[in-house]
Subunit: 268 residues, 2 copies
Amino acid sequence: MTRNANIRDEARQVDVRPPAVILCEPQLGENIGTAARAMANFGLTDLRIVNPRDGWPSEKARAAASRADHVIDKVQVFDSVEAAIADLTFVFATTARSREVPKPVRGPDEAAQKSVSLGVNGLATGYLFGRERWGLNNDEVALADEIVTLPVDPDFASLNIAQAVLVCAYEWRKTATGGALPFRLSPEENPPASKDDVVRFFEHLESALDGVTFFRPVERRPHMVRTLRNIFQKAELTDQEVRALRGVVAALEKRQTRPRKDEETGEA
Amino acid sequence: MTRNANIRDEARQVDVRPPAVILCEPQLGENIGTAARAMANFGLTDLRIVNPRDGWPSEKARAAASRADHVIDKVQVFDSVEAAIADLTFVFATTARSREVPKPVRGPDEAAQKSVSLGVNGLATGYLFGRERWGLNNDEVALADEIVTLPVDPDFASLNIAQAVLVCAYEWRKTATGGALPFRLSPEENPPASKDDVVRFFEHLESALDGVTFFRPVERRPHMVRTLRNIFQKAELTDQEVRALRGVVAALEKRQTRPRKDEETGEA
């Protein structure tokens, strides 16, 4: 847990009830742990396990969770899927292959929208994940409201449980926070240059280039000036970057008037 | 590789040049392998490694790739990031923490849009991933056009390389295919019921309920009928489901007229 004062508030604040993750008869404690780690990265904490093969608690799960102890500590174990989802109001069954069931099939992004739209009202949703080898059976899928599957390459579909949990959890948090990232390019720390400063830099550069008769033939000057200005406009320069560029031009101007041997090969 | 005739064409067909994934000085072969597996799930095949600590080829990488041999076989090894990205036109640097660089910071979804918009024109893009322990250094970030970071919970940010690759690859494929899933609820296999059939089922149910004087008091009948009809409207019934429901009503009607002892406790 790294706290960082520079983190944007909207990336931290989530006023939406996160979904539960229900693992159905997982075989390996390691998979439970990596699922918990995937959840924790995106703010999910409610992990439920139905009949874990190797029992519970699991030291392998805790080790694989990589410090997601707050998820592991709260794990609930159930002896049936019905019991594990009893308090939820909307359940997604994740499956990697088509089922013979006439139930809506959603992508993780669509599922996240549904989960968040219920979660903003405090309603509890959940994602059901199947066994390592053969997923969920049809009776378990029948307990769910909708099916979730991932937009994988059909010719190489080989996601493990924690990877499927990761993508669902990622989409949930992205939707719940409106895509808020922990950090962005900050206009406070990197104020964009004013147009006045940018134009003065342009004029400085162009006058330096005039000094070395760079613009030849002279009737091409307007076109070449526009080319150069467009290059720097695209860079969306900051205050500090304009100062750096003016320093570069000044240094090159100086070099032209007082060449020194050890600068001959440099590019400033 | 499981080929399935039921897979939808739009989930298979991707006419966009996929991005390269560049791993910078990875320590563990296992992480290279799990990154390759993550890529393969979403149709990425161009994996490049800069100075892998334990050399290349790596049997650990191949084992962890879980059948993504087509990615492992094509891996290219470089001795600098500059060489690894030389043929690309747009590069994202993935970082988990804010940098002191005035460079745009994107989510994986925004990065995917950029990569796809270049990739539809056949232009090569790439995602640069850093070392297990401390990511990319600032010189490496300076080689990239933009920064990508994931919308993790800032209070528990602990994604490994393969997890970050997975989310970026997922967003890329989702964008490139317009969110096409390998399967959806198929209207051909599960044709929705016609309104005529649905209304006839309603009338059948309501007449059966009239037969047992279910609607009491009778002035409440219109309201109760609407309640029942709304329930079944929400279910978006298929042809086959309407037939099943009519069978249920018929069976219950029969039971009312000819009760048998062994049916007394059943709920049909």
